[in-house]
């Protein structure tokens, strides 16, 4: 078997093997489903995480590619990023279609590794200045290993060389990835990997003769590479959450899967319900017994849960709800991100009832709010919703969560010994802070009635007007009581800038990156990301009212966030909306363009 017949030295000019240092690299791997795009991305992520890089990986963007096509994307950089780079720097394409799909997004100096087994790359698809490396992955894998399957490992061997990874790191990474395979199963993968490296040798790509180099970075401390879904579920579990019920729905199913894997080992229960109505009511049943309980869904499922959420607000039942928002309305675009459940989460349901909506911006906050929501639900005895956007399925590199620092607040619970000291127990007893101590079935001397009808302090149904007003006011007071514990907005940028930019969720990181880059071009903005959506906190209203113009950037056609802010007291004339609802996520470059475009239209005075 000679590899000489595939000599690509003619293609890869020795001058290009300068190992150009790149510290911010966006990579796409595309092909037919089953080609193993995800495997190569996973291997590359691991290899670059080991080198000290931060990885942002998105799966959602993959369904941009239709039909049998699948693609995976990642960005390696030196700081935590919330989006891909503006352009694809490195494309590994298993077929022509993958190149066609990526074509418009390829960077001028991109590297395109193309599987040339079936055909040569048609002209005109990649920028003239891009470097194309045709490699017959599939033919090589079949010829050497008799199976097309091994082209991933082969591809990784070659790609690792192209980005300047030492052979021992490439090999260690592959071994680690396939650690569950037996030695016999691993062996052909290792051979495939070496074939890939041998192929690189024929092209002179080795050692410091790589196309790009990603230098090893200093240790960043202990880090985790995790999605928002897993992080929020982890937070719930660490905060003592022990009961979860859900119904499968994209993109929230991962929360249920995570907990089904991890909760039973510590005495928890995970139930897959027959529908979302059952899911939230199973959770209510668990919460009635004093267990910390949670459900999770996406927009359509949350819509079904609306009555129950209001019921928990009325009946003062502590539950946590995760909403992994997706593009609506109706079934919408299940795999596409949006922030268009804000109306429903903040103002949905019949009647007026206390509840809280938190909105994390990255997996660190997802973890933090998984804990906080569980504590707040107990403290305020009401439903607490955690609203995730694309952060739910995207993986970020963040500092390892400090489990030992987590504090558990069980709220006001009355014990048997405390009950022995009092004459009478009333479940809905009036109190200055609106919170009445809870007692649970199994406790002597604390029997009570829980109902979604209006009721008196004992839980007996009544429509007496005076009682009605006292009870409504008592429930509303609970939110005032816990308000100091609700996360305030984070702000960045130039606080003296006349233009403010308000956003929520994953957009915070994207806007921050866009603003950093715009600042270098002389554009000044002041950024503000809400972390509590309901109740709307005063700091956000003040922010809007203190700037001449505020761009409210959000992923919804209906400007739901802007509308929420207006109704909470923000000056309507200050607000200019930047809306996106095409199902795609912003890159920082797109965000820069959107901000500059709006600035041209609306800026109160010319920018310096």
């Amino acid at each position: 078997m000679s590899l000489a017949m595939y000599d690509i030295s003619a293609v890869v000019d020795k001058d290009l093997l300068q190992g150009e240092v790149r510290e911010d690299l966006t990579i796409m791997v595309g092909g037919q489903g089953g080609d193993g795009s995800l495997t190569i991305i996973a291997l590359l992520s691991k290899a670059l995480l080991d080198r000290g890089y931060s990885i942002y990986r998105t799966s959602n963007i993959a369904s941009r590619i239709k039909g049998g096509h699948a693609a995976a994307f990642m960005r390696a950089s030196t700081g935590c990023k919330s989006c891909l780079g503006d352009k694809i720097d490195f494309l590994i394409a298993f077929d022509t279609e993958a190149v066609q799909k990526a074509s418009s997004q390829l960077a001028a100096n991109s590297v395109v590794v193309f599987d040339s087994s079936r055909e040569a790359l048609p002209p005109g698809l990649v920028p003239e200045t891009a470097l194309v490396v045709p490699v017959p992955f599939s033919r090589l894998a079949v010829r050497v290993l008799r199976q097309d399957l091994f082209k991933n490992s082969l591809g990784f061997g070659l790609v690792g060389r192209i980005i300047g990874l030492p052979d021992e790191e490439i090999e260690a990474c592959l071994r680690n990835h396939f650690k569950k395979l037996s030695a016999t199963e691993l062996e052909p993968n290792m051979r495939a990997l070496r074939e890939g490296q041998a192929f690189a040798d024929t092209a002179g790509i080795s050692g410091n003769q790589s196309i790009v180099t990603l230098p090893r970075k200093e240790s960043q401390g202990e880090r985790v590479f995790i999605s928002g879904n897993h992080a929020v579920a982890m937070g719930f579990m660490v905060a003592g959450g022990r009961f979860f019920a859900g119904y499968p729905i994209t993109p929230a199913t991962d929360v249920m899967n995570f907990l089904a894997r991890n909760l039973p080992a510590i005495g928890g229960v995970v139930m897959q319900a027959e529908d979302e109505l059952a899911a939230i009511n199973l959770v209510i049943g668990a919460a009635l017994t004093g267990v910390r309980a949670m459900t999770g869904s996406s927009g359509p499922g949350i819509a079904l849960m609306q009555e129950s959420i209001g019921h928990c607000g009325s009946a003062e039942i502590p539950i946590v709800i995760i909403d992994c928002q997706r593009a609506g309305p109706s079934t919408g675009m299940p795999t596409k991100p949006e922030q268009s459940d804000i109306n429903m989460l903040t103002r949905g349901g019949n009647g007026d009832f206390p509840h809280i909506v938190l909105a994390p911006g990255d997996p660190s906050e997802c973890f933090e709010y998984g804990v906080l929501a569980t504590n707040l639900a107990s403290r305020a005895q009401c439903p607490v919703i955690v609203a995730l956007d694309a952060v739910c399925h995207d993986n970020f590199t963040v500092p390892r969560f400090d489990l030992a620092a987590v504090e558990i607040d069980m709220g006001k619970r009355i014990s048997a010994s405390e009950l022995a000291e009092i004459d009478e127990y009333r479940r809905y007893q009036m109190s200055a802070d609106g919170i009445s101590p809870m007692a649970f079935p199994g406790t002597k001397g604390a029997m009570n009635l829980v109902t979604g009808n209006e009721r008196d302090e004992w839980g007996r149904v009544t429509t007496e007007p005076g009682n009605r007003v006292r009870m409504m006011d008592k429930r509303a007071r609970k939110i005032e009581t816990v308000k100091p514990q609700l996360p305030k907005a984070v702000e960045w940028g130039d606080s003296a800038a006349p233009v403010g930019v308000v956003c929520v969720g994953i957009l915070g990181g994207v806007i921050q990156e866009a603003m950093d880059r715009l600042e270098k071009q002389g554009h000044r903005f002041h950024g503000h990301r809400l972390r509590t959506l309901w109740p709307v906190l005063q700091d956000t209203i003040d922010f809007v009212n203190q700037h001449e113009v505020v761009y409210v950037v959000e992923q919804s056609e209906g400007a739901q966030l802007a509308s929420l802010l207006r109704s909470a007291g923000a000056q309507p004339e200050n607000i200019v909306s930047i809306l996106r609802y095409d199902g795609l996520q912003y890159t920082a470059g797109e965000m820069m363009a959107a901000l500059i475009d709006k600035e041209r239209q609306t800026c109160p005075r010319p920018m310096q």
Binding site: N262, I266, V269, A287, L288, T451
Partner: protein, 287 residues
């Protein structure tokens, strides 16, 4: 001991069948010796959805149709409790019909009582899924929950009683409560409980009732034979009452791998074992 809420008085019309159902539930609780503080009575929405106020235990008024999932959630979260769920035929067979299928399928340790009067009494007389001759949809057949229950392989206790035959009702209610408390699974009892105001079916139902308990030929431990017998009886416009089926199948609780932590243990949950597990889970994401 602290005083708690004053036990409520039934709000039903004079002559309502629900009085008998409540009496049977209380009789069963007394006979079984359950403690009020260890009992959670959950009820749905409708006339029947007030029974939880009248027995002195922990009471929960669920949302319309959702009493069964709530009861299952509570029974899983604290298996030490005695769980009694109650509701009407509209609550259990119409708006909550989907949950009934899955409740029967899951076989959680609880007693579920449906007070079937064939009508929506609280909203003044609309037809329910068990109305025999529906005015709005005369071509529809009434739903038979016992035959439905028999068709699901994991049911373990199916019974139907009629409120005016209190001896049989009391006996079945106590058997059902013990079935749930003994960890055998869900006892499902439908009580024919006529609405004297909107669907006074006492005379028809008494005439049509066929007591399988009194039939030596009837086999309540064989699912197939019971189903065939019920089918024939229904074809003859009879309403089978009595212990329809009793069998064995692992309960939801016994089938769950997890050892459930009751709330009172949760405060001490941060044991070394839990911390170790949590740390291990997180370490899978470490880079």
């Amino acid at each position: 001991m602290s005083k708690t809420y004053a036990i409520g008085h039934p709000i039903w019309c004079a002559g309502c069948g629900h009085f008998g159902v409540q009496a049977a539930i209380q009789h069963a609780m007394n006979q079984a010796g359950v403690e009020l503080h260890n009992t959670l009575v959950l009820a749905g929405i409708g006339c029947s959805g007030t029974v939880q106020n009248n027995v002195g235990a922990y009471g929960y008024h669920s949302m319309h149709g959702r009493v069964l999932p709530t009861a299952i959630g509570a029974s899983l979260a604290n298996p030490e409790l005695t769980i009694i769920a109650a509701g009407g035929d509209g609550d259990g067979y119409a708006i909550g019909g989907g949950h009934l299928l899955h409740g029967l399928k899951r076989n959680a340790n609880l007693l579920y009582v449906i007070m079937n009067n064939g009508v929506y009494g609280l909203t003044k007389g609309q037809d329910s899924p068990t109305k025999e001759v529906s005015v709005s949809a005369p071509e529809e057949e009434p739903l038979d929950a016992m035959m439905l229950g028999l068709s699901i392989q994991s049911t373990t206790f199916l019974a139907r009683a009629i409120t005016s035959r209190s001896d049989q009702l009391n006996r079945l209610m106590l058997m059902g409560l013990n079935h749930a408390r003994d960890g055998k699974g869900m006892a499902f009892i439908e009580v024919l409980s006529p609405c004297v105001t909107y669907n006074d079916t006492y005379p028809q139902w008494m005439k049509k009732a066929y007591d399988v308990d009194a039939d030596p030929e009837y086999c309540n431990t064989h699912r197939g034979k019971a189903f065939a017998a019920l089918y024939d009886l229904v074809q003859q416009s009879r309403i089978p009452i009595g212990l329809i089926y009793s069998g064995n199948h692992p309960s939801l609780q016994s089938a769950m791998v997890s050892e459930i932590t009751p709330h009172h243990a949760l405060d001490q949950e941060h044991s070394e074992r839990v911390s170790k597990h949590l740390d291990k889970v997180l370490s899978a994401y470490a880079v």
